[in-house]
């Protein structure tokens, strides 16, 4: 019965959408257009962590020799380390650290405790779709969330030992309540962002933007749904976030938050100081269905394949990485234009375990930019091929 329902949904929703897309292309709409960014030839990609021949068991040691990494959440730290959240929703996850000399070591996870205490005993769940793992240099902590654990938790080091602490919510109880951290309740934390001063923004349950400041949780906005993106004051703005997206990222300053507004096929910008929302990229949905992911002018030409699934601010290049879930390439929004920087479509194999691969050869499917480090290195992850890659501009070095 379940298979029948799934097939029915596929045939009734997906296939007509694809056909409609093909018809639209034949019917005179311009085909998807790829505009290579002027920096594209300068980008290269290294395998950063994981190896395609290593197998499913988590290993420790040189990061490019380990197995067992799934699609990862990525959080670069201020000391040059990079934290990875790995594992899938059906089993215990783990958080590992890749040190600046390339060694991958286990930090937390594999246990069964949701209480505060040693990371070695902790049950860890880290989402890999949203921005679920963020390093905060203000308190040298790693904050992490997962939709199935209704709490915001942090990992920190004291006297050489890694410890876990719940800073807001109750890992065992869902709800929707503001207040002091230990009294507040969350429903399904999807994405997290931490400002330079330690204020935390949480996208909760696709519609609620929550803020944790000085240990107190408040609700910043409750976004209504709706077929069209409505800009304006936060209390009026609509969002269409799905469980396949839910990305928020802080932008050029602590008062700017970008949102991957998935099913509106748009990137939205929240001015937290003024309490307003505007659309900054993505043509309307009816012009941007499957296989329509054109580059070009952000509001009149650019589109996302299957909606906009992720956003990630790149402070080094002053650009916003954004894209659909299955575009096979990585694009950024800069100066009002969406351009392709890394990757391409096609079926050619690429040397996915190598170093210095030209960015144009990269083919990662169901992929996203997971993080950007202080050197301008861009961390790429994918559902189809596990592990982490780091893209960089040649002139900026490895």
């Amino acid at each position: 019965m379940r298979q029948f329902v799934c097939r029915f949904l596929l045939s009734s929703l997906l296939i007509p959408a694809v056909v409609k897309s093909a018809e639209a292309q034949e019917g005179g709409d311009p085909p998807p257009e790829i505009v290579l960014d002027e920096t594209a030839p300068m980008w290269q990609v290294n395998r950063f962590a994981g190896n395609s021949t290593a197998g499913p068991v988590l290993l420790q040691g040189p990061a490019r020799e380990v197995g067992g990494l799934t699609r990862c959440a990525v959080a670069p730290a201020s000391d040059g380390s990079v934290f990875l959240g790995t594992g899938r929703k059906w089993a215990h996850n783990r958080i590992v650290r890749v040190t600046p000399d390339g060694q991958l070591r286990l930090i937390a996870g594999g246990g069964s405790s949701l209480s505060d205490g040693p990371a070695s005993r902790a049950k860890i769940l880290v989402g890999t779709r949203g921005n679920s793992l963020v390093y905060s240099s203000s308190d040298e902590s790693l904050y992490y969330i997962h939709t199935m654990i209704p709490a915001v938790r942090r990992l920190y080091q004291r006297e050489g030992r890694w410890l876990v602490e719940t800073i807001a919510g109750d890992p065992n109880r869902t709800g929707d309540a503001d207040g002091p951290g230990d009294e507040a309740l969350f429903t399904e934390p999807m994405s997290i962002a931490v400002t330079s001063t330690g204020t935390i923004y949480v996208l909760d349950d696709q519609r609620h933007l929550r803020k944790i400041e000085d240990g107190h949780v408040t609700t910043v906005a409750r976004f209504p749904g709706g077929p069209k993106p409505v800009d304006g004051p936060l209390e009026d703005a609509s969002m269409a976030i799905t469980d396949m997206s839910g990305h928020i990222t802080l932008g050029e300053n602590d008062d700017t938050l970008y949102v991957a507004d998935h099913w509106h096929f748009a990137v939205r910008k929240i001015d937290l100081k003024r309490g307003t929302v505007i659309t900054i990229a993505g043509v309307p949905r009816e012009h941007a269905c499957f296989n329509r992911h054109s580059d070009g002018s952000a509001l009149t030409r650019a589109s996302f394949n299957s909606g906009c699934a992720y956003v990630k601010w790149d402070g080094v290049h002053e650009a916003l990485w954004c894209g659909g879930p299955d575009e096979h390439r990585f694009r950024w929004l800069k100066d009002g234009k969406l351009t392709t920087v890394i990757g391409r479509r096609g079926n050619r194999k690429w040397p996915l375990d190598e170093l210095g691969v030209p960015a144009a050869d990269v083919q990662l499917v169901w992929s996203n930019v997971a993080a950007v480090d202080a050197d301008g290195g861009v961390y790429l992850v994918a559902a189809s091929t596990w592990g982490v890659w780091r893209a960089y501009m040649k002139k900026e070095g490895q």
Binding site: N51, V57, L59, W90, L106, S113, P118
Partner: protein, 422 residues
């Protein structure tokens, strides 16, 4: 007259079969639970247990302590009598030194046990080390023997024996090729290590002996096999391996030899997914003949096996169901008890459609590639999580099953139960 003779012959022949396939409460008798090491230096973290039987005693090995960045995991061992009495309650530290030792495996040959593990004590990359212990618990190699300690990661060893000597397999990273390769090396009970042979078996090979050859099973995305001779040399090499099971997400197979008849391979099926597109979870077994080929009598079921069938197939030991919130998944264990293979696996519960929670252990006897017992028999089933089982057989219907028991406070203890099949 002829009909009467045939009838009598059928009745006479069917008697031992009926006894051998008895089902009921006593099909597998499960003994009381006991811990291997109560107050170990690992501060309540014991993981990755494995067990072997030899010279009248079981030797259990495990990782004692946290293996993370701020940890110091050591390989420990304990002797256990066939009736489940821990003979070395203080544990035996197998190798000294600081750092991280993981993934221990043990086998018995000649008159010694051989323990192998991967060792990150150097801090840069893992090596495969080994140490011998006597059945009385004496550590014969106070300095571990290096099985594979070259540049690059050498990891995830397994060991089995042909009764006289050991064969160790592992995966080794080739930095020039940016890829792993599978290797094997013979080791004698006196501690001499043979030449490393490239096997093609990776990732994470598991091996078992069956009369005249070893079978290594391995794979990512599917399970494949290769036969190895006593020195670890591939007998039936194939570029893509001999396929045992196709389309397995994160396979963690278990294997045991069935003397002179072949090998039984166990592996889980799908993981839960939100829409149920991947079909149900399942614990399945496959039989590989002495020629190294999949038993042809399995063929009619393989198509259904791959098709996401939601019902239970004849070679499935257990099937998951999100409605009843059960989901078999994870690395199983199996051993030959002299008449049947005894198979043990983890059955999880499912919350929110996809999250695996409280896990229990179940067992059944297997004849050929079908379960003998109508219902899976609970081995460890309570409010805490039990998982990652290992099982060894004394060969006379006595077995020892050991596993990780996860307490709500996050501590993990290696725990055991004696199983009796006759």
């Amino acid at each position: 007259m002829i009909r009467s003779s045939i009838l009598i012959a059928v009745i006479v022949l069917s008697v031992p079969l009926t006894v051998g396939s008895a089902t009921g409460d006593n099909a597998i008798q499960v003994g009381p639970e006991f811990r291997l090491f109560e107050d170990g230096p690992g501060k309540g973290i014991q993981r990755s247990p494995h067990v072997a039987f030899g010279d009248g005693v079981y030797l259990v090995v495990w990782q004692e302590g946290w293996h993370g960045e701020d940890g110091n995991a050591r390989i420990y061992a304990a002797r256990v009598s066939p009736d489940g009495k821990v003979l070395s309650p203080g544990g035996i530290q197998v190798a000294a030194g600081a750092g991280v030792q993981e993934h221990p495996r043990v086998a018995f040959a000649g008159d010694v046990f051989l323990v192998v593990w991967q060792d990150l004590s150097g801090g840069k990359d893992a090596d495969v080390l080994a140490a011998r212990l006597s059945p009385s618990g004496k550590l014969l190699d106070t300095k571990p023997v290096a099985i594979a300690a070259g540049p690059g990661t050498q990891a995830l060893p397994d060991v089995a024996s042909d009764g006289d000597k050991f064969l160790v397999v592992w995966q080794s990273f080739d930095r020039d090729a940016s890829a792993y390769k599978g290797f094997a090396a013979r080791m004698t009970p006196t501690g001499d290590v043979g030449e490393a042979m490239e096997t093609g078996a990776l990732p994470q090979p598991r091996i078992a002996w069956c009369g005249d050859a070893y079978l290594a099973v391995y794979g990512d995305g599917r399970v494949t096999s290769v036969k190895l001779d006593r020195d670890g040399r591939p007998i039936n090499p194939s570029k893509w391996g001999h396929e045992v099971v196709r389309n397995v997400r994160q396979p963690k197979p278990a294997i045991t030899g069935v003397p002179e008849r072949g090998w039984l391979v166990m592996v889980h099926r799908s993981v839960p997914d939100y829409w149920g597109w991947g079909g149900p979870g399942g614990m399945r077994c496959y039989f590989v003949t002495p020629e190294g080929e999949l038993d042809p009598s399995l063929a009619p079921h393989l198509k259904q096996d791959r098709a996401g069938n939601w019902g239970r197939l004849p070679h499935w030991l257990d099937v998951g169901n999100r409605d009843t919130t059960t989901w078999p998944w994870g690395r199983p264990a199996c051993a030959w008890d002299g008449r049947h293979v005894v198979a043990v696996w983890t059955r999880h519960h499912v919350e929110k459609k996809v999250m695996l929670t409280n896990s229990d252990l179940f067992a059944t006897r297997v004849a050929g590639w079908t379960p003998v017992d109508k219902e899976a028999i609970p081995v460890a089933k309570d409010a805490t999580e039990e998982q990652n089982p290992a099982v060894a057989s004394a060969g006379n219907g006595h077995l020892l099953c050991i596993y990780e028991k996860h307490a709500p406070d996050g501590s993990v203890f290696v725990t055991g139960r004696v199983l009796r099949t006759r």
